[in-house]
C-alpha cells in the first residue's frame, strides 16, 4: 500500500511524485555529487592530455550540452517542436553581458537564467494553440526577430561592434580554462539531475510525457496542459540562458552573428544524434558531434555536410536517433529480429475479488450530478449534436446508444469540456461549467475515458493512476484514504501485476482497464466511459461489468457509458438514451427502449427486426 503514498504527497507543480520525497532528494543529491566528481576527473584528464586547448573544447561541449538538454525538455519530454534555442541562447548571453558589470557575475548569471526562462515562456505562448509545423515556424520567427535585435539594438548589445564581457575571470589562459571547465561541469551536472528530477518525478514532468502523445488525455485527467507546455518552454529557456552565460564568459566578447538559426539547427542535430529518449541523449549527441569535429580536423570545413549526412542517415533509417539506430542494429545482431508479445495477452481475466466496503464519502443516491440543456455543436453544415438535454443522477448508470455518427462521442466531448458547445448549458451539481476547460471539470468530479486506446505510451500503469489522482488533486480536499482508494481500483481492475509495466506493452484489454483506472483514480462523482467494452472478449467484458457495478456501489457515483454491445448495456444500465443524427430520439428503461420501433429502425433500418436481433447486432 505504501506504493501509493508517493503519488499523493503534494500537488504543487514541481512537487515530488514518487515515494518518500526526502530520500529521493538525498539520492538526487548523491547523483549530483557523483556527477561533479566524474566531471572533475574528466576535466583533469582532458587537461592532462590536451592542455588548455582541450579545456576550451570541453567548455564548448558543456555549452552545447546545456542547449541540447533544454531542447530535449521541449522536444523530447514535452513533445513540442521548437527551433527557438539559438534565440534563447542569445537572450542568456546578452542579458549576462549587459547586467554583469553592475550586478557582478553570480547575480548576473541568475538574472540571465531567469530572463531565459521568461522569454522561453513568452516564446512558448503560441504552443498553447499551435503544434507541429506552425510551432516550428513561430519559434523560427522568434530566432530571426531576436537576431535582428542583437544587430540593431546597438545601445544595449553594441550591434556589429560587439559587447565585451570580462566578469573578472583570471587572465592566465590555463587558470581561465580551468575555471570555465569547472563552471561547465557544475552547469551540466546540475542540468542533468534537474532534468531527471523534473521529468521523472514531478506532476509537471508527468504532464509533459502525457501531452507529448495524448494532450486530450492530459486535459481530461485534470492536467493544466497549456500551463505545462509553457513551463517546458520556460525550463528550456533557463537551460539555454545558462548556456548563454557560459558562452559569454568563455568568448569574452559577444558577436550577434553567433546567434543565428544555424545554431538552432546544430542543437537539433545534436539532439537527434543522441536521441530524445532520456537526458543522456543530450550528452551523447553533443559529445559525438564535438569529438568527431575535433578528431577529424579536416571535417571542420565540411561540418554542414557531416551534420546533414548524419541526420539524413538517421531519418532514412527511421529509428529516430543514432543511439536508437545502433541499439536496433545491436539487438538484431544479438537476438535476431524478434517482436515481443503483448504482456498479459495470454491471461484469462480473473474475477473481481476485492472485498471492499462502501466508502464513508459515498454520494447519497438520487442526487442530480449533471444537468444538460439544449446543447448543440455544429461542424460546418454537420449538426453533430443538435439540442440534447439530459440529467444524470448519482448511483445510476445511463447508456447512450445509437448508430455510428449519431453524435455520441461529440456529446461526451462537450460534457467533458474537450469541445465547447455552440449553444445550451451544462451544470455539474448545480455549478455552471459551460466555460470551464476540461481540467477544471475533472476537479469538479467528472472523469472520462476514451474510445481509442488512451493508454499513454511510456507511462507505467502506476503512473496512469498517479496521473488521474494528481490531476484531480489540485482543488479536491483529500480525506487521507486516497492510497486505499488507489489500492481498491488496482485490485478491482486486476492491475496490480502491471503497476510498473509500460502500458504500451500491455494487451489491449489491460490498456482499456488502465485507462478506466486512470479515470477512477480521480475519485470521480460522475464517470463518462466511451465504449468501455469495445474489442473485449466476453469473459473480459463480464469482469469489467462486475468491476464497474462494484465501483458504483462503493462510491455512489453516476456512470454514463457509450456502448454498442447490447449485452453489456442491458447488464449495466438503468436507463438508456438513444441518439440518432445528433438528437435524442428515445429515452427510458432498457427493455422498453430496445423494443422501440424507432430504435430498431435506426439500428437495422427495418421494422421487422426483434429485440433479439439487436442483442446480437454487434459484438459477441
Amino acid at each position: 500500500m505504501t506504493r501509493f503514498r508517493s503519488y499523493l504527497t503534494r500537488a504543487s507543480a514541481f512537487g515530488p511524485l514518487l515515494d518518500r520525497p526526502r530520500m529521493r532528494a538525498r539520492r538526487l543529491f548523491l547523483w549530483w555529487v557523483l556527477g561533479q566528481v566524474i566531471g572533475f576527473v574528466l576535466l583533469t584528464a582532458v587537461e592532462a592530455r590536451w592542455g588548455s586547448y582541450g579545456l576550451s573544447v570541453f567548455t564548448k561541449g558543456a555549452i552545447l550540452i546545456l542547449n541540447v538538454a533544454g531542447l530535449g525538455i521541449v522536444i523530447g519530454a514535452a513533445g513540442q517542436v521548437s527551433l527557438a534555442s539559438a534565440g534563447l541562447f542569445g537572450v542568456g548571453a546578452y542579458t549576462f553581458g549587459i547586467v554583469e558589470p553592475s550586478t557582478g557575475p553570480v547575480l548576473g548569471a541568475a538574472i540571465a537564467i531567469a530572463a531565459g526562462f521568461l522569454v522561453g515562456v513568452i516564446v512558448g505562448l503560441p504552443a498553447i494553440r499551435l503544434s507541429g509545423l506552425y510551432l516550428a515556424l513561430a519559434t523560427l520567427a522568434f530566432v530571426e526577430a531576436a537576431y535582428q535585435v542583437w544587430w540593431n539594438a546597438t545601445s544595449l548589445t553594441g550591434g556589429s561592434s560587439g559587447l565585451i564581457v570580462s566578469a573578472g575571470l583570471p587572465t592566465n589562459i590555463e587558470d581561465r580554462g580551468r575555471v570555465l571547465g569547472q563552471l561547465g561541469v557544475l552547469g551540466v551536472g546540475t542540468a542533468i539531475v534537474l532534468y531527471r528530477y523534473v521529468v521523472g518525478q514531478t506532476t509537471t514532468g508527468l504532464s509533459w510525457r502525457v501531452l507529448r502523445h495524448r494532450p486530450a488525455v492530459g486535459a481530461s485527467s485534470g492536467m493544466r496542459v497549456g500551463r505545462d507546455r509553457l513551463l517546458a518552454f520556460g525550463v528550456a529557456g533557463a537551460y539555454s540562458g545558462a548556456a548563454g552565460v557560459l558562452f559569454a564568459l568563455q568568448a569574452g566578447f559577444l558577436d550577434p552573428s553567433v546567434f543565428d538559426i544555424s545554431k538552432s539547427v546544430e542543437h537539433l542535430v545534436a539532439l537527434i544524434v543522441g536521441g530524445t529518449a532520456s537526458v543522456f541523449g543530450a550528452v551523447i549527441g553533443p559529445a559525438v558531434l564535438i569529438y568527431s569535429l575535433e578528431a577529424f580536423k579536416g571535417l571542420a570545413e565540411y561540418r554542414e555536410f557531416w551534420y546533414g549526412g548524419l541526420i539524413l542517415l538517421i531519418v532514412v533509417s527511421g529509428r529516430g536517433s543514432l543511439a536508437g539506430l545502433l541499439g536496433r542494429l545491436v539487438s538484431i545482431v544479438l537476438r535476431g529480429d524478434r517482436r515481443t508479445q503483448a504482456i498479459g495477452a495470454d491471461r484469462t481475466p480473473e474475477s473481481v475479488d476485492a472485498s471492499i466496503e462502501p466508502r464513508a464519502t459515498a454520494i447519497e443516491p438520487g442526487r442530480v450530478l449533471l444537468e444538460v440543456q439544449d446543447v448543440a455543436r455544429h461542424y460546418g453544415g454537420v449538426k453533430a449534436v443538435d439540442g440534447v438535454s439530459l440529467t444524470i443522477l448519482s448511483g445510476e448508470t445511463v447508456g447512450i446508444i445509437g448508430p455510428n455518427g449519431a453524435g455520441k462521442t461529440s456529446l461526451l466531448n462537450i460534457l467533458s469540456g474537450l469541445d465547447r458547445e455552440a449553444a445550451g448549458s451544462c451544470a455539474i451539481e448545480g455549478v455552471r461549467v459551460d466555460h470551464l476547460p476540461a481540467a477544471r471539470r475533472v476537479q469538479l468530479g467528472l472523469s472520462r475515458t476514451f474510445q481509442n486506446v488512451a493508454a499513454v505510451e511510456g507511462l507505467t500503469t502506476g503512473e496512469h493512476l498517479a496521473l488521474g489522482a494528481r490531476g484531480a488533486a489540485a482543488s479536491m480536499s483529500y480525506d487521507g484514504r486516497e492510497e486505499e482508494w488507489l489500492s481498491v481500483v488496482t485490485d478491482l481492475f486486476g492491475l496490480r501485476p502491471y503497476l510498473d509495466v509500460d502500458t504500451a506493452s500491455l494487451a489491449y484489454g489491460l490498456k482499456k482497464r488502465a485507462d478506466i483506472g486512470r479515470a477512477l483514480a480521480a475519485q470521480p462523482r460522475l464517470l463518462l466511459l466511451d465504449e468501455p467494452a469495445a474489442g473485449l472478449g466476453s469473459a473480459e467484458m463480464d469482469v469489467l461489468a462486475e468491476a464497474l457495478v462494484r465501483v458504483r456501489e462503493v462510491t455512489g457515483a453516476g456512470i454514463v457509458l457509450i456502448e454498442h454491445n447490447m449485452r453489456f448495456v442491458r447488464r449495466m444500465c438503468d436507463r438508456l438514451i438513444v441518439m440518432v443524427a445528433g438528437s435524442v430520439v428515445v429515452e427510458g428503461q432498457p427493455d422498453v427502449v430496445l423494443a422501440d420501433e424507432r430504435v430498431i429502425a435506426a439500428y437495422l433500418g427495418s421494422q421487422r427486426a426483434t429485440t433479439e436481433d439487436l442483442a446480437i447486432g454487434k459484438g459477441p
Partner: protein, 293 residues
C-alpha cells in the same frame, strides 16, 4: 516620372511576387503532404544556378531559352522526387513532425554547402528571360516575368484542381490519405507529384528571381521565412492565399522600409506571422481540419 506612391506600389508588387513564388512552392507541398520543406530556399538557388550554368555554356537564343525553362522544370521535378524518397518516404508511417522538419533542414544544409563550395558567396548575374527592352506601365521585363509566374501558377493550379481528374485526386489524397487509398488511389504517386510540382515551382522561381536580383549560392533564411509568412497568411493550404499574402507582405516591407527604421521593419513581419498564427492558424483563406479523439 512616376510619383513616390506609385513607385512604392510597384516595388511592393515586385517584392511581394517574389515572396509569393516561395510561398506557392511551400503551399503546394504542405497542402498535399502536410510537410514543410525548409530546403525550398536551396531549390530556388538550384534553379538560378542552373540558369547561370546554361548561360555560361551557350549563347542565348529563343531555342536555348525554351530548353532552359524545360530543363529547369525537369531538374526541379527531379530534386523534388529525390527529396520525397529521402525525407518523406522513410517517415510516412512515423508521423514525427520534428524528424520531417529536421530531414528537410538536413537537405538544406547539404545542398547549401555544396553550392557554396562551388559558387562562393558572391552574387552572380543572370540574363533575364524577358529583358529590360520589354516594358509595361512601371514594370521592366524581368519584373514582369516575376509577377506573371505566380499569377499563372495560381490560375493554372486552381483550374487543374477543379477541372481535372488528377487535380481532384491530389485533393482527395490531401484530405484523407487513407480514404484515397481505399478508393484505389496510390497515395505515394501523388505525394511524389506534390513534391515534384512544389520543387519545380521553386526552381522556376529561382531562375526568374535570379534574372531580377542575381543568383547566390545560398538564399538567405530571412527570404525563406518571408515565404513562410506569406504562406501562413493563406493558412499554408491556399495557393491564392499565398499570392495575396506575398503581395501584402511585400507592401509591409516596402512601405515599412520607407517609413520605419530597418530593425522595426523586420519585426513587423514577424509580429504579423505570430498574430496570424495565433488568431487564425487556418489563415485568411484556409480551413482548419478537425481531429478525431
Amino acid at each position: 516620372m512616376p510619383g513616390l506612391y506609385e513607385s512604392l506600389v510597384t516595388q511592393s508588387v515586385v517584392l511581394g511576387a517574389q515572396y509569393a513564388l516561395v510561398a506557392i512552392g511551400i503551399v503546394v507541398l504542405f497542402r498535399h503532404t502536410g510537410i514543410a520543406n525548409f530546403a525550398q530556399g536551396e531549390i530556388l538557388a538550384l534553379g538560378g544556378l542552373a540558369a547561370l550554368e546554361v548561360q555560361r555554356a551557350f549563347a542565348m537564343s529563343i531555342g536555348v531559352q525554351v530548353a532552359l525553362v524545360v530543363g529547369v522544370s525537369l531538374l526541379g521535378g527531379a530534386i523534388g522526387a529525390v527529396m520525397y524518397a529521402v525525407c518523406h518516404a522513410p517517415l510516412r508511417r512515423a508521423q514525427d513532425d520534428l524528424l520531417v522538419v529536421v530531414g528537410t533542414l538536413a537537405v538544406a544544409l547539404l545542398l547549401g554547402n555544396a553550392f557554396r563550395f562551388q559558387y562562393g558567396s558572391e552574387t552572380h548575374s543572370v540574363a533575364p528571360l524577358l529583358t529590360d527592352a520589354v516594358r509595361f506601365r512601371g514594370f521592366a521585363g524581368p519584373e514582369i516575368a516575376v509577377i506573371a509566374l505566380p499569377v499563372m501558377l495560381v490560375v493554372g493550379w486552381l483550374a487543374l484542381q477543379r477541372y481535372t481528374r488528377a487535380g481532384r485526386r491530389l485533393t482527395a489524397v490531401a484530405q484523407n490519405p487513407v480514404g484515397a487509398t481505399l478508393c484505389g488511389i496510390d497515395v505515394r504517386v501523388w505525394f511524389v507529384v506534390a513534391w515534384a510540382v512544389s520543387s519545380l515551382v521553386g526552381a522556376l522561381a529561382g531562375m526568374l528571381v535570379g534574372g531580377l536580383i542575381g543568383v547566390r549560392a545560398t538564399v538567405p533564411l530571412g527570404y525563406l521565412i518571408k515565404g513562410f509568412i506569406a504562406a501562413v497568411f493563406g493558412g499554408l493550404t491556399s495557393v491564392g492565399g499565398a499570392l495575396v499574402g506575398g503581395i501584402a507582405l511585400g507592401a509591409v516591407d516596402v512601405f515599412g522600409g520607407y517609413y520605419l527604421p530597418t530593425a522595426v521593419r523586420d519585426i513587423v513581419g514577424f509580429a504579423l506571422l505570430i498574430s496570424v498564427l495565433l488568431m487564425r492558424p487556418q489563415g485568411m483563406f484556409g480551413r482548419l481540419t478537425e481531429s478525431r479523439l
